[in-house]
Structures are given as structure tokens and as C-alpha cells.
Amino acid sequence: MVIPASVRAAIAEHARRELPNEACGLLLLDGDEAVEYVPGENASPSPYYFELRLDPVMWADIGDRDLEQAVLHSHVSSAPRPSRTDVERIGLWRGRPYVIYSVRLDELAAWRIGDGQIESVPLRDGAPA
């Protein structure tokens, strides 16, 4: 997955703005490249928990664009690796790209979670090779 510097900066900025709580939003992907970050609202504001809320009409409209959606959320201090809570709450997002940003480590990591299995998805920053 490619996350260009501008998208990464938008994610980091949103995650810092939400401190001390976790931030969440949608990352829109064209193929394997992230093209837009849509900041969401954390409906259960907490340093250890998030519940993604977006305007439902806007979210349904996003669903009609030909883009893949990845859930993004921040971990305030722990590593950007899916926690047990993340795995248990994966629900309908099973098998889809799942991106975590660690605010303390300033690190992004992408995963796919399915049936208790966690698979790492390699990330590139989109700079010319």
C-alpha cells in the first residue's frame, strides 16, 4: 500500500488534534494508493477506544465512489499493531485494509484482519523509487 506524504501528514495532524483520545477516520484507496483521508468523529472518546462516526449520507456517497475504504485509527502510545479489541471488533471489515497510526512513535502500519489472523500489509510512502 502506498500512503503519500500529504495523506500521511493529514492523518498525523488529525491524530495529534484528538489527543489524549484515539482518532479515527476513513482512508480512501485507488488500487493500492491512498488518495484521501476523511477524518471521522470518535463517538466514544477515550485514549483506549474508538467508535467511528461519519455523516451517514456522506459515508454512503463515499461508498458509491469506485474507491476502496480502509478504516484508520490511532493508538495514543502503543505500537501500530492491531490489539485484541481491534481483532474482536473487526466485524464487516474482515479481510479489508486496516491502518493504524501510533502518535507516540509517529509510525503508520497497515494490516488485514480475518478470522483471528493478522496479516501485515507492506507500506510505501509514495516517493519516487
Binding site: Y48, Y49, W59, H75, L92
Partner: protein, 407 residues
Amino acid sequence: MTVVRIPPTLRGDVGGARQVEATGATVREVLDDLVERHPALGAQILADGGVAPFVNVYLGGEDVRTLDGLDTEVPDGETVILLPAMAGGSSRPWSPAVASSLLDLVGQTPLVELPRLSPKPTVTIYAKLEGQNPTGSVKDRVAKAMIEAAEASGELQPGRALLEPTSGNTGISLALVASLKGYPLTCVMPENATEERKRLLRLYGAEVVLSPAAEGSNGAVRLALEMAESDPRWFVPFQYANAANPRAHYEGTGAEIAAALDRVDVLVAGLGTGGTLMGAGERLRETFPDIVVAAAEPLPGDPVMGLRSLDDGYVPPILDVSRLDRKVLVSNEESVAAVRDLLRLEGIFGGVSAGAAVHVARRLAGELDEGVVVAILADGGWKYLSADFWEAPTHDVEESMESTVWW
């Protein structure tokens, strides 16, 4: 006719369509009609007579859970939007910052790593700090569960009073729960129980009835049962035979550990009533089938404080020893050495039974090449301050512990 907008995550169940049609006057009727037309959607969007946990249903921009749920009326021409719910978070359990009752703060105790007590770097020992419950011990879970189970069954109603043979943590926990719920509590204990225990129970609002010192803890049980037989006002929770005791550990202690850790190879807890080992052991075995459930048991005739509250040979009805994988005998001396190490090396001020659990955890950790050991530390050391064992030479410890009935 109602238009239902389908998110990409569910389009595979409706032949790839972005939106489909359904009819109905309420959200329930619309979703039922939708499932009839697209059966594969059923399990994804409906569960247990309501909206499935991982789906949100919106009408007019509002989540129907905040309206009238499935009974929300759907005006003709309105659009229903289905969206995949998303929640998660870093590994620490979420809990509200403000509780409406102290009883809501029972359980959800922290797990902390004990790196300085682990015999090898490839084996991680975690301690579950039950001393962080409201009255400072694991028994808060048991007291709350026993009283609430009796209320739910109708056995305990206003006007009845609680009676329990205990001079230990269970009495203090019952005293807290009883006082917040408005039941009088009487604890029966041997007359040579320590002054601090009698005082603590009275401060929490319990009455104290003394049984003959010579009969020990069994005398307290005998007297409590006699009192209960002679007066139907008494309700005796009797933790040794109360199924709510292991259930509190199945639903609480064990479930919390299973949610917090990705791997557990050994669970160690002190063997008293057997409630912790039976309940937490059973819950953890469901998640980690190869787990070793190990009991730290006092040596016969060696009353490790907090573990042996009834006489040698008594098998509590809730204890099924066939479900213990290991039973490790621990002497007073070993328990005291471990509880001192726990304080000196890890800064944890534990009770004596915590020392017994740590002793066994260290020993079993030494038998593993790698893995994770969890020890349940039932309480803190505060209630044992008048015991000399914190600083005294070992032989004085032995004398001090044998001369007083602590539990």
C-alpha cells in the same frame, strides 16, 4: 417502496448492487423484506431479534438505535442507509472515568509484568492485581456476585439479613456490598481472630459474633449454620458451596485475562475455596486449550494465611480437583520469602497468599522454555502489617503465623 443503500462491504450479498428496494412500514419490516429478497444479508444485518452488532442502520441521517430501533416507522420514499460499524482501540480495556457506584468498580483489575521475578527472559510472568478492588481483595468479585445472584433468584429480599462464617477478606467484601445494598451482615469468627479484622468488619458496618477459639474456623462454620437453622431471617451466602463464586471468576477474572493477553500457558492462583481456579481456569481453557491450571496449596498443617480458612481435609463443594492440572504445595516460609521478593524487586505490596502464588508461578516458569504465566494476587499486604514476617528472621515468622488465627 424504500430505497436501501448498501455499503461496499455488503454488496457481495446483493449481487453487487449499490442500492436495492424493499417495502415495509417499519425498519423491521423493511429489513425482513430485504432479507427475504437477499437471504445472504440475513446473518450480517439481523441478530438476536435486533440489528446485528457490526452494522448500523440509518433513517433520515439518524441511527435507528437512537430512535425506536427496529420499530422505527419508515415514511414512504425515505432512504434507509446501511453502514458497517467500526470500533476498536489499543489494548487497555475501556472503562468509564466516572462510576455511579463503588460496586461498578469491582473487577477490571490491572495485569502487570514481573520481569525481575521471572527466572528467564523468554518466560513472561504477569500478576493480576486483585488488591485494586474496592476493599482491596479478590473477594469483592465473589461477594458482589453471590449477593446479586441471590437477589436475582428472589432468595434475598429486603428484610433478610446476611450471615457468613468468615474473619477474612470475604467478610469485608460482603460488608461493603451489604451496606451499599442495605442488608445487615453478621460475621461469625473464632474469638482469637486478630483485633484488626474484628475492627475492620465493625467499621464496615458488620456485626461480629465470636465462636470458641479451640474449635478454629470449623467452629465458626458450625455456629453460623446453627444460627441460620434457628432463624429463617438469615441468608448464608457460604462461598465454599455457592456457584456464584466460580461464576464471578469465569465471567470476570478469567474473561479479563483472556481479553488482555494473546497467550497464556500457565494460570496460578491460591487454593482457598477453589472459586478462582475453577472459574478463571475454565474460562481461560476455552481460549487457550493447552493451558496448565495450577493451584498453590498450603502444606498440610501449614496454614498459609488466606488460603487455609477451614481445617485440613475439607473439600469445598465448588472445588473439582480433577480440573486442576497441577497442585504445588507451598510452605509458609516459601510464601513469605516470595512476598518479600515481590515487594523488594517489583514494588508490589502483596498479601501472604500472593506470595504463595508468586512462588508457584516462578517455579512453573522455570519449567517452561518460553511462554506466559499469569499469577492471581488475591490481596495487598496492608491487612497483615501487624504480622512480623516483613522484617523478622524466618523462624520468628513461623512462630508468629502459628500463634494467631488470621483467617
